[in-house]
Point group: C2
C-alpha cells in the first residue's frame, strides 16, 4: 500500500544517450565546504568511505586551499591519509603551487584547479583577474602533468554570473581552451548559480565542439537553484557528455551568491540514469542511506527529492551502525 516496493525506476533506454556515465561525486568537498559548523575529520572520512562503498568511483575528497579561505576543509592534511587507501579516484582541489605541494606530499594522483569564466567571480573567489588566475594555474598544471597527475579544470559561472548576468559563450570557450592548452585532462563546466536551461547547455557544448574541444574532455556541474539541474544534465547527455558532477544528498551551495542552493543531488541523477538504463555502478539504496546518515550529522534533512522519498525505505538507525 506504499511506494516502498518501487525502489527503482523501470529501465527504458532512450536513443542517442551514452551507455555509461561517470559520476564525479563532490559532496565531501563542494558539498561540505560551506557548512558553518565544523564537521569532524573522522565523519568526513567515513562519508567518503560510505560513498565509495555505494559504488562511486570518483570522489572529490578535500581542498588544499589556504585554511583561512575555507575553514571547513582546513583538515585536508589529516583527512586525505584516512581515505587514500580506498580503491577509488580521490581528486583534491589545489589553487596554486603551494596547494599542489601539499597534495603531492600526501600522494594525491588527481588534482583540480578552479577558474572562472567571468571577471567578477574570478575577483570574488580568487582575488585575481581571469588571466591572472590562469597564469597562477599554469605552473600548477605543468608540474602536476610532469608528475603524471591527472588534472581537472573547474570553470565557474559558465552560464550566468550574479554580478554580470548572462555569460557570452565565447568568453567561456576562451577559458576552456586556455585550461586545455595548459594541459588539463578534463574540464568541469559549472553553472554556479543554477540559471542555465537546456538550450543554453546545448549551445555551449556546440560552441566548445566548434572550437575543437572534445566532448570526452568535458564534465558538467549543475546547481539546482531553479530546479533545472537534471533537465540540463539530460541535454548534456544528449550532446555526448559522459561525466556528470553531483553531490550526495544535494549538499552544497555557493558562498558568494545567496540564492545558489545545492548541487545536483547524486541520488536524483542516479534515479534518472537508472531509468535510462545507463550504468553508473552506484547502489542507490546505499547512497541514500549514506546521505541520510550525513544529514543526521549535519542536523537537517537532505534537499534531494529522491533521498526524501526513499529515506523511509533504506534508513533506520538500527540498520546503519557506525562501521
Amino acid at each position: 500500500m506504499t511506494t516502498d516496493a518501487l525502489a527503482l525506476p523501470m529501465a527504458v533506454p532512450a536513443a542517442g544517450l551514452p551507455a555509461r556515465v561517470r559520476i564525479h561525486e563532490v559532496g565531501a568537498r563542494d558539498g561540505l565546504q560551506n557548512e558553518k559548523a565544523t564537521v569532524p575529520t573522522e565523519v568526513k572520512a567515513e562519508f567518503v568511505r560510505r560513498l565509495a562503498d555505494a559504488g562511486l568511483t570518483t570522489i572529490e575528497a578535500t581542498s588544499f586551499v589556504r585554511p583561512e579561505w575555507v575553514p571547513q576543509l582546513a583538515d585536508a592534511e589529516r583527512l586525505y591519509p584516512l581515505v587514500a587507501g580506498l580503491p577509488v579516484a580521490l581528486p583534491v582541489l589545489v589553487p596554486n603551487e603551494r596547494g599542489l605541494d601539499r597534495a603531492l606530499r600526501l600522494g594525491a594522483r588527481r588534482v583540480a584547479v578552479f577558474a572562472s569564466a567571468t571577471e567578477s567571480f574570478a575577483k570574488a573567489n580568487l582575488n585575481r583577474t581571469v588571466d591572472e588566475a590562469l597564469a597562477m594555474f599554469e605552473p600548477v598544471v605543468a608540474r602536476a602533468k610532469a608528475e603524471g597527475v591527472h588534472v581537472r579544470g573547474y570553470l565557474s559561472m559558465c552560464f550566468g554570473d550574479p554580478w554580470e548576468g548572462p555569460v557570452p559563450l565565447p568568453r567561456v570557450v576562451r577559458v576552456c581552451r586556455a585550461l586545455l592548452d595548459q594541459g588539463c585532462d578534463e574540464l568541469s563546466l559549472g553553472d554556479t548559480i543554477g540559471v542555465a536551461t537546456p538550450g543554453h547547455v546545448t549551445a555551449l557544448l556546440a560552441a566548445l565542439e566548434e572550437a575543437g574541444v572534445p566532448v570526452s574532455a568535458l564534465g558538467v556541474h549543475f546547481h539546482d537553484t531553479y530546479g533545472q539541474a537534471l533537465a540540463n544534465t539530460l541535454a548534456a547527455l544528449q550532446h555526448g557528455v559522459t561525466t556528470v558532477d553531483a553531490s550526495a544528498g544535494g549538499l552544497g551551495g555557493c558562498p558568494y551568491a545567496k540564492s545558489a542552493t545545492g548541487n545536483l543531488a547524486t541520488e536524483d541523477l542516479v534515479w534518472m540514469l537508472r531509468g535510462l538504463g545507463i550504468d553508473t555502478g552506484v547502489d542507490l539504496g546505499r547512497l541514500v542511506a549514506t546521505s541520510v546518515w550525513m544529514a543526521e550529522r549535519l542536523g537537517r534533512p537532505s534537499p534531494s527529492r529522491t533521498v526524501r522519498a526513499l529515506a523511509p525505505t533504506v534508513a533506520s538507525p538500527a540498520s546503519h551502525k557506525e562501521q
Copy 2:
C-alpha cells in the same frame, strides 16, 4: 552582489522544440485538494484570480466530486461563480453524470474525467475496475460533447503504480484509446507517483503515436517525487508535446501514495521554458508572488526551487496587499 538582478534566464532556443507551450495550471484543484486545513473559498478564488493575472490561461478551478470524497473542494458550487467571469479557461473535474450536472448548471465549458491505467489505482481512487470507470465516463463525455463542452481525460499511473510496479505501455495505450474513442478532446498522461524517467516518457509517447493518438491531443502531468519532473517534461517537449500540467509553487500530492510529493512547480517549468525561448504568456515575477502569497496562507514554504530562489526579489508583504 546578489542574484537579484538575474531574475530571468537567458533565452537560448533548442532545436526541435515547440514555439509555444500551454500550461494547464492545476494548483487550485490538484494542488489544494489534499490540504488538511480547509482553505476559505475566497482565498481559493483569489488564488485563481492571481494565477490568471500572472498570465496563466488554463486554470483548473475545482472538482465536482462527492464532497465527502474531497472535503477541501466541497465548496465547488460557491467557488466556481466567483471566478467564472475571468477571461481564462476554467476546467473542472467531474467523475460522473451527477458531477457533470453540477458543473453544467454553473456554466462550466470545460470538464475533465479521471481514469487510471492500473486496476489497483482505479479501485483505490474510484472503487471500480478500469473498465467500470470507463463505462461510468462514457455518458459523461457523450453529454458534455453534445453540449459543446471541452473534455479532458486524466489518466493516472501511466508509468508506475505503488501497488503494481512498472505499468506496461500497452495498458496505458488501451485506456488512452478508449478515452479518445469516447470523445475526449485531450488526455493528460499522469506520472502520479513520480517514478518516470525521460526514456520511459519517450517510449510511451512513441507507443501512443503508433496507436494513432495524435501528440496534439496529449498533455503530460509529472510529479517531482524523485526530482524527475522537469527532465521528463523536456523529453515530452522533444517529442512534440505542447500541453504541460503544472502546479503553482509545486503544491499538491497524491493521498494514496505516501511518497508522492508535489506536482511539477509551474515556476520551475516557466523558468525552463523562458530559457528555451518558448512562449507561455506567464509573468514569472507575478506567478512567484502568487505562490508566496498562497504559501503564507497555507503556513509553509513552497517546495518550488524557483519560488524559493526568487521569493526575496518579488515578494514583500507591503508590495502585495490584498486586491
